[in-house]
Subunit: 246 residues, 2 copies
């Protein structure tokens, strides 16, 4: 990617992208391009929609009410992410934003809050989660935005689990053992990372997890980490062993 | 560690810790224990100093001007961290706080900002970095606080490098290859992670790094990550292969 293209503003759209097709902008996008980035008709923008790769587009019009671009040429073809889901006990405000951004940067394909016995966050704003996922995808050159799902109870999540998907759970109470050795022993396939609440899983939840065939417990070393740190670390290990980091 | 002890406030001190020894508190610590945690004489606090392990202490006195504790018994013996340094192009304010916290949680023993060609942060507040490292150590049950060092220029850092320490550098321009395979090929020994600025290293800096015997370049996958995310991910991989995560 040329340095020039690298600096071209990049936005997510839900509209189809193909040569010469006109793309309508949302109000907020038009405001961003016109008033924040100071673009004018004729300037260039990159768009992606999770299906058609990335396209270099030309600004046709920008106004208070919206705007439009014209797709010129495809700059990247669509590529699939490794199939890795991220399930996490919801955190509050800024920490939640952070977790969503990091999981998106690390290539998680699905983000879902999980209610646990010790979860103490009343409700999660899905729209805010989605906005953070889109922003991360725009900034980090992702070609798709992770799916953001409604909060689910841990029991319901496990009851409906696809047994072909590895559920990797960071077990603070596990004997310290090599997380890589454990991950490398798994058959390649779809995976998911599950991160518990700050207080950890309850003994009953831990037993339920450890007794499930599709669950793999890993230890992230001898130190206690905040839940958001553990999530980033676990996703890095899973991408390295089961994902697309090679 | 019993749940009870787990909930006992935990503070870092620079004073020696041994049975029956009295420990003077700083003003801020006394305020925290007395006014925030609402402790009274006779209540318990955990202290660590990076040398004598962790000690359960009893509050003797708390006042506006300070306070004192008495060390009762050692609850954890001192253990050494894996020898992993963390060098990073400084980021601004909240992102810098975050990087320092994460690197501390992940067990880095030394934190040092590195000035690069594309670094655009004027100066780094070492005292703020140190406060964040101490807070992370207190919250995450570390037995020591990482050393925080003055900003150094990349050239000077490399000129003075101990050739026995692996310098692991996250090379965005590297061909995508398995970071684990690269790390697993290294001889065990002291290591360091180097994270560049948002703009990446300059071509000259990259050449300098790649031409150094002690430097190992790794790729963190096909996606662009923010510098703070890359740092957390790289430290997780290095702890897993060369550190104490097994």
């Amino acid at each position: 990617m040329s340095d020039d293209l690298h600096k071209t503003p990049r936005l997510y759209t839900e509209q189809p992208l193909q040569a010469d097709l006109q793309v309508e902008l949302e109000k907020a996008q038009s405001h961003y391009l016109g008033n924040v980035m100071r673009l004018k008709p004729g300037d260039q923008v990159r768009l992606f929609n999770g299906q058609d790769g990335e396209w270099l587009c030309t600004v046709c019009a920008l106004s208070k009410r919206g705007g439009s671009l014209q797709a010129e040429r495809q700059t990247r073809t669509q590529s699939a992410l490794a199939d890795i889901h991220y399930y996490f006990a919801p955190l509050k405000h800024a920490r939640l934003d952070y977790v969503v951004q990091k999981a998106s940067e690390l290539g998680a394909t699905l983000l879902q809050p999980v209610r646990t016995d010790r979860t103490n966050v009343a409700r999660v704003k899905l729209e805010r989660m989605r906005a953070n996922a889109i922003e991360a995808a725009e900034q980090c050159n992702l070609l798709s935005v992770p799916e953001v799902c409604e909060t689910v109870r841990l029991g319901a999540l496990l009851d409906a689990w696809d047994p072909n998907r590895h559920l990797i759970f960071c077990d603070e109470a596990a004997e310290v053992a090599s997380p890589l050795a454990v991950l490398e022993a798994l058959l390649p396939g779809p995976a998911a990372v599950l991160i518990g609440p700050e207080g950890g899983f309850s003994p009953a939840e831990r037993q339920l997890l450890l007794s499930s065939q599709f669950v793999t417990a890993i230890s992230l070393g001898p130190r206690v980490m905040r839940a958001d740190t553990a999530g980033t670390a676990a996703l890095a290990l899973v991408q390295s062993v089961l994902g697309d980091w090679h």
